[in-house]
């Protein structure tokens, strides 16, 4: 076996071991360790991606001495490796972009605890990407939930504790539903490994033996993941959680944590029940409807906000709606567009949070849009990044959001006529609504104040901050302009999934 096949395993183990090690380190050393672990994982993931591109199909890595249905295993294909690469990169940039604010927001004696959370979050995301086993997925969903909770409450304000409590309650409800679903599936198939479950599921559907429990399990799993990733009616925890936590936390939460769950759902749809059975259960229609409603309602809520970070948080609800709408379209192209939108949203949203913090820094730490006037002139790099992020969110050509919207529209053309019409109309309305708040904010940020108080004060941002913002902009542009190879990888990965 080639040595490179061990790389995903190394990434996971590195992230997991660095967690306990950080607990005895000082805050500074824990930070260095965490940043280097994320960087190493990024390099190893790139190597894995490069390796899988040349392979004919995905490879399976046995976790232990015992092969598949008896032991654990992970599965590495093009899509998995690509997702791991992009998640590591976005996590690294969110950390470097928010480093300055982290030192300010997190007390020194709790700094190492923060990085334990980051390390284990990375591990759980990687496992959710690579796992080929339902129960392993569930265990790491738990780790993901607890570490996300830690990220929210590390700042220690009353608002953070409240937000973390809300998040905990909703998220545990979601985990509970997922666990019930996994147990039902184990009860009717006798397997936990995705491949074997899939075979058993096909048999169940063909012989019509345990169809009712199967349908219930599919429904519970979809709803559980939808709650955890804040699909429209379950989004009540999201605005507080995203807007009051520290900069790195909010960008990681919005871009990665919810996306890890969505990828797990994607695996469930493709590898466990299969797309046909998923459509048979009707769960895709439900996701479609709530996705569409979320697209509109998230933006309507965002327009009413006066706090910039709450506005960005509400726009996340709309973007999650897009992804579920793609899942619900019922065609292959919709899934591809949804997976691409996971990336497009992850990169643009984390950039928006990082830049929003930069803008607030030069406006007396205020997030109110009135105080933010002209802040783009005071902190140019943050302002520029904010404009790029906004344009991507609205869907202007050259930026990532445009590509995913075009592909959503293209996918809708292949769908059933009702869904096609609804999707196209919702896309149009949602774009206008997005423009209403994002473009307005971008204009406001670059309009000088009437009686300028900070006239001479030219603010200097740190090199690390500027560098991470530049890389963010480059990623968004690459996703917008050179999207063809990425779509090829996603399509190839999804074909390998089934």
């Amino acid at each position: 076996m080639e040595f490179v096949r061990n790389f995903p395993f190394f990434c996971i183990m590195l992230a997991m071991v660095s967690g306990p090690v950080s607990s005895v380190l000082s805050g500074k050393k824990a930070r260095v360790l965490s940043l280097s672990v994320v960087t190493i994982c990024e390099i190893l993931s790139i190597a894995t991606l490069y390796y899988t591109l040349d392979l004919d199909g995905p490879f399976v890595y046995t976790m232990g001495r015992f092969p598949a249905p008896f032991g654990n295993e992970i599965r590495v294909g093009v899509l998995e490796a690509f997702m791991a690469t992009s998640f590591c990169l976005i996590m690294l940039l969110s950390l470097t972009g928010g480093l300055k604010y982290l030192v300010k927001d997190v007390p020194e004696e709790k700094m190492n605890l923060y990085f334990i959370m980051i390390n284990l979050l990375l591990a759980s995301l990687l496992v959710l990407i690579y796992t080929n086993d339902l129960f392993t997925g569930y265990v790491f969903v738990e780790i993901n939930t607890i570490s996300a909770c830690g990220l929210i409450m590390i700042r220690g304000w009353g608002r953070n504790i409240l937000a973390a409590t809300k998040y905990m309650i909703m998220s545990l409800l979601g985990s509970g539903l997922v666990l019930i679903s996994v147990s039902i599936i184990y009860g009717i198939t006798g397997h936990l490994l995705m491949h074997n479950v899939h075979e058993a599921v096909l048999k169940i559907v063909a012989e019509d033996t345990y169809t009712e429990p199967l349908m219930l399990a599919v429904g519970l799993f979809s709803v559980g993941i939808a709650i955890k990733s804040a699909l429209f009616p379950f989004h009540a925890w999201l605005p507080d959680a995203y807007s009051y936590s520290t900069c790195s936390s909010s960008s990681i939460l919005s871009s990665l944590v919810s996306k890890g769950y969505i990828l797990f759902l994607l695996k469930f749809i493709y590898r466990v029940v299969g797309t046909d059975v998923f459509r048979l259960s009707g769960a895709d229609d439900v996701l479609f409807i709530f996705g569409i409603v979320g697209m509109i309602m998230g933006s309507v809520d965002a327009i009413q906000q006066t706090d910039m970070r709450r506005m960005i948080a509400f726009s996340s609800i709309a973007q999650i709606g897009y992804i579920y709408m793609g899942f619900g379209l019922g065609v292959e192209a919709g899934m591809v567009a949804a997976v691409f939108h996971i990336l497009a949203h992850a990169s643009a949203k984390s950039m928006l949070f990082v830049s929003a913090n930069g803008l607030a820094e030069v406006s007396g730490q205020s997030m109110n849009y009135r105080n933010l006037r002209g802040s783009g002139l005071r902190n140019r790099s943050a302002g520029a990044a904010f404009v790029v992020g906004s344009l991507s969110m609205v869907g202007i050509p050259l930026f990532a959001g445009f590509t995913s919207k075009v592909y959503f529209a293209k996918a809708a053309m292949n769908a059933v006529t009702t869904k096609e019409i609804i999707t196209l109309i919702a896309l149009a309305i949602s774009t206008v609504l997005n423009a209403m708040y994002f473009i307005r904010m971008a204009i406001s940020v670059f309009t000088p104040k009437m009686n300028e108080e900070y006239e001479d004060e030219r603010f200097r941002t740190g090199t690390v901050y500027r560098l991470s913002v530049v890389v963010f902009v480059v990623i968004v542009m690459i996703l917008g302009v050179f999207s063809n190879p990425i779509f090829d990888w996603i399509e190839r990965g999804l074909t390998e999934f089934s």
Binding site: T62, G64, E109, V139, G187, R373
Partner: protein, 319 residues
Amino acid sequence: MSKIRSDYETSRRAAFRRYVSGEEDLKSIDYMPMFEKQIAEEKKEDERATEHYLVPPLKDPMEDAKLHAELLGMKWFRRLYVVMSVALCLCIIGAMVYNVAFMPAFGGTDAPTNNEVSERYLEKGQEETGVVNMVTGLILQYRGFDTFGETHVLFIATIAVMILLRMGKKEIPEEVDGEESEGDVILRTIARFLVPMILLFGLYVLVNGHLSPGGGFSGGAVIGAGLILYSAAFGFTSTARFFNEKIYDILKVGSLGLYSLLIIYYLFTGANGIDSVVPLGKVGAIISSGLILPINVLVGIEVACTMYAFYALFRKGGL
């Protein structure tokens, strides 16, 4: 001209324009006629002064009435909310109960769970892992990676509680220690008698995990309970003589680190088809079953530390 201009000022178009340029809040557009501009200006001043105000300042009776109506609406909303949530729960319960009728019978011989997987665990488990207690062999060898993750769930839960409750060194009140060293006489007498037995029993469960029911998780929980009883009876000061923050850190990180090394060795050799150098030993002996015994002990230490840490964090905010 002036008339047209004032028309424009009050029109929705102008309001939208003001909204776009960031001068106006969208919520205020609809219900703010121009003659109230003066009041609104004052309100804005107030808002600027206290940016996250909780109770809006009440000024005119109209607003009072509005607030009243709002509260009434809230009341109805709360009632509706209760009714809806009960209905939702009933729906979910109904779906679950309905589902039970279709599930395979519990423990039935023809249930899908009785397949080649559980067969192999039961028939070949002893030979392949060297354990008598198959549950231990299953969680530490066949599905060792899951258990590794589960141990980290415990670890990260302690860390999350620490984020919430850990105070700086200076903030821990000294009196807590003083108060608690004066334990109850009955409690102290019984604890003196019970604690060694509990610890011994925990140790027994721990090291016999591969032979009899028990293992790292249960043995660790027993030891943790013994530690909690000790510190409840004799106070934190006497517990700190043999179990303080330093020792806690060493034990926790040492056990998790060693566990990680062992599991990495196990997973890596297993995946790459390298023969493991750890002998399985004679089935049924205390020192047998390869890596399972040390892993059980390490998991036990981690669980005991977690249990005690939760207690100490909730009692006084630090170890």
